[in-house]
């Protein structure tokens, strides 16, 4: 029986609640956790030649920033709690990438914090969480 959780983080307060909750669940069931952070990115945007030339550098910087400021603290926290932890930082469409990672690591369920974006922004762009809940192949636990 697969016993891995995917924990999606983004550094927001909702996401730290999700971290707490997932830690608790994982401890009880002895599960392994994959901490995932997705940098929103699309392969179908239009760039200037200069942006293209600098893209590799920017990508490295983005990965470094996400890893050091968001993912590493969470991983350290989980490790302190005695859990088996893995991590992934990836570029892509957030919900789609989380689903790809869930498949890759063959996880039993996904934990994600509710970011609580509301109002106009949410109406226009929809939410990552809602998108994920509707398309994920495994159960998704949304932590408020």
């Amino acid at each position: 029986m697969k016993n891995t959780f995917l924990l999606a983080v983004d550094g927001s307060p909702g996401s730290s609640n999700a971290v707490e909750f997932a830690t608790d669940r994982a401890k009880r069931g002895g599960a392994r956790i994959v901490v995932a952070y997705v940098i929103e990115w699309s392969p179908y945007t239009f760039n200037t030649p200069e942006e293209n030339a600098e893209r590799h550098k920017r990508r490295e910087e983005e990965l470094e920033r996400a890893t050091s400021s968001i993912v590493k603290p969470v991983v350290a926290k989980l490790k302190d709690a005695g859990l088996d932890v893995d991590s992934e930082v990836r570029h892509g469409h957030t919900a789609q990438t989380l689903i790809e990672l869930a498949k890759k690591h063959d996880v039993a369920q996904i934990f994600i914090g509710r970011r609580g974006a509301s109002g106009l922004k949410d109406m226009l762009f929809g939410s990552v969480t809602a998108n994920l809940v509707q398309t994920a192949p495994v159960p998704v636990t949304v932590v408020p």
């Binding site: 030649p49 293209n52 030339a53 590799h56 490295e60």
Partner: protein, 549 residues
């Protein structure tokens, strides 16, 4: 094989050298003609070259500004040089009553050679190119790097321009409907040239210490020739290319674009911007400044988003107009084929139509000039061949799709009403063809033309920058100095009339295709080797699909 190749090369070189000396001799006798007075003849006039057809946008180009003292001085100083350079670069040999510019011959022979040598890569690579752009082969672990789609979109923004709208009208006026056939043929052959130059651009690019990349013909010329024990020659033509692309970037990639944008705006405003060139110039320079120096990516992104949208919008409405001209379609298509073979009413007959068509295609898709190679080499990929594959779609989109659609809009309108355009030429003729069916179209068309000009300036600012850094190193101060110079020229383009300087710039841009294609011949075996190895690995499944398996 190598022997045959060398023989062909030497033969071509001899022809070129003889031609250049002949141009010198001829030069002694003929007087330079004024580039602005006879725009349509300009296509045939070696002294005018590239820019001439587009002046047809507002035929004949009115003096944009009064001839100030500074202009006159600069013009007087540069005109003789411009005349000479122009006549050498655009030197023409008479063939059966038609005039064939050698530089076009050089480009076409190159395109035919690469098509045959690489076993019609333009046909057999097409499907794979689409799969690459769609992201079928994109490794998820590389997400966040420049995608094939982005590389293609950037390069297409740089080539799709006013030429696709106005240049075609000139081709049809001068070369008849048959020119369209040869235009498509040249676009098809140009796909192979693009493939070779973009593959090499990636293979021989330079990775800078700060993890950014610099590439393009100057790099593959230098390193490619060095690998073949011709280091000195490689260095020489590398620098030569860098100078050419740098000056070209200030001329046709800059002043000429801002100038045309101003002419367009003024046309739509019904002459309301007369004498306000300085203001339009300053505004445009400020916007370019904000993008290339201020790093205001949002402006660039907005333009880069609008440009493809505009291109799609243009094609869509062009198709609507063609469908509205439904009864004329069979006759218009018939004219394209019969005109291609008979060249009825065209100076030089079928050959004349052929030359005009080929010339337009080269001016439009830039295959053989090497500029797209600079844009493509910015992309990080382990397989240079994939960039080449993607780039062969550029002449397809630019020439085979967009130019052909324009030609059909004009062709069907001509069949329905031979005198539809009146005296209008160039973009005004295309505009009139649209107006016949959609009366409001000239305004969005002018808007599109201005945006096309802007995106071309942004692309060329990068090409020129790479020429500059190749010559003077990658120092940041130097780059900023170049960018400031570039912005100054944007404003200048609308303020002063520096015809001869533009002529030199045009000529140089076409002159650099000589060393570029020469280098491509020498390096073609390397491309072939890479291609075969790549295709074998795709076949064996070593390079695998991640999507749409």
């Amino acid at each position: 094989m190598k022997h045959i190749l060398m023989n062909i090369l030497m033969g071509l070189l001899c022809v070129f050298v003889v031609a250049v000396s002949a141009a010198h001799a001829q030069n002694e006798q003929s007087k330079p003609s004024s580039p602005t007075q006879d725009w349509i003849k300009g296509i045939e006039d070696p002294n005018v070259g590239y820019r001439s057809w587009i002046q047809g946008i507002s035929p004949p180009e009115p003096p944009l500004v009064e001839d100030t003292g500074i202009d006159a001085t600069i013009n007087a100083l540069t005109a003789p040089v411009a005349g000479l350079v122009g006549r050498i670069v655009f030197f023409k040999i008479p063939v059966f009553g038609a005039e064939l510019p050698l530089v076009v011959l050089w480009l076409v022979i190159g395109a035919i050679f690469f098509t045959v040598y690489l076993g019609f890569i333009n046909l057999r690579g097409f499907k794979h190119a689409i799969e690459l752009v769609r992201g079928d082969y994109a490794n998820p672990n590389d997400a966040g790097e420049v995608s094939h789609f982005q590389a293609l979109a950037t390069a297409v923004s740089g080539t799709v321009g006013i030429g696709n709208i106005g240049g075609v009208a000139v081709a049809v006026t001068v070369g008849g409907a048959g020119a369209t056939f040869w235009l498509i043929m040249a676009g098809f052959l140009g796909m192979s040239t693009k493939f070779v130059e973009c593959t090499l651009g990636v293979k021989y690019r330079n990775e800078n210490p700060d993890a950014s990349v610099s590439g393009g013909p100057m790099y593959y010329l230098r390193r490619g020739f060095a690998e073949r024990n011709m280091e000195g020659f490689g260095k020489f033509i590398g620098i030569f290319y860098a100078i050419g692309i740098f000056i070209g970037a200030l001329g046709i990639g800059n002043m000429f674009q801002s100038n045309q944008a101003y002419v367009q705006l003024n046309n739509v405003a019904g002459g309301g911007l007369d004498g306000l060139g300085w203001l339009v110039g300053l505004i445009m320079a400020a916007v370019v400044f904000a993008v290339i120096i201020g790093g205001i990516k949002s402006i660039a992104r907005v333009t880069e988003k609008i440009v493809p949208f505009m291109a799609v919008f243009y094609c869509l409405f062009a198709l609507i107009v063609i469908i509205m001209n439904l009864p004329s379609i069979p006759a218009a298509i018939g004219n394209i084929f019969s005109g291609a073979l008979t060249g009825e009413g065209v100076a030089g007959g079928a050959l004349g139509a052929l030359i005009i068509g080929f010339q337009r295609a080269v001016f439009s898709n830039e295959a053989g000039i090497g500029s797209a190679s600079i844009a493509h080499s910015a992309v990080r990929t382990n397989e240079p061949i994939t960039e080449g594959m993607v780039s062969l779609l550029e002449p397809f989109i630019d020439t085979i799709v967009i130019c052909t659609i324009t030609a059909l809009v004009i062709g069907t309108s001509q069949v329905a009403d031979p005198g539809f355009a009146g005296e209008a030429k160039g973009i005004a003729m295309t505009s009139a063809a649209f107006e016949r069916q959609l009366s409001w179209f000239p305004i969005p068309l002018a808007f599109a033309a201005v945006l096309f000009a802007f995106s071309t300036m942004i692309s060329w600012s990068y090409y020129g920058l790479k020429g500059w850094t190749y010559m003077f190193g990658e120092s940041l101060q130097g780059q900023t100095a170049y960018k400031l110079l570039f912005c100054a020229f944007v404003a200048l383009g609308c303020i002063v009339q520096l015809g001869p300087i533009l002529d030199i710039s045009d000529a140089l841009v076409f002159l650099i295709c000589v060393p570029n294609i020469l280098g491509l011949y020498f390096l073609a075996p390397i491309v072939k080797q890479e291609l075969n190895s790549y295709l074998a690995r795709v076949q064996s499944g070593e390079i695998k699909k991640y999507k749409n398996v």
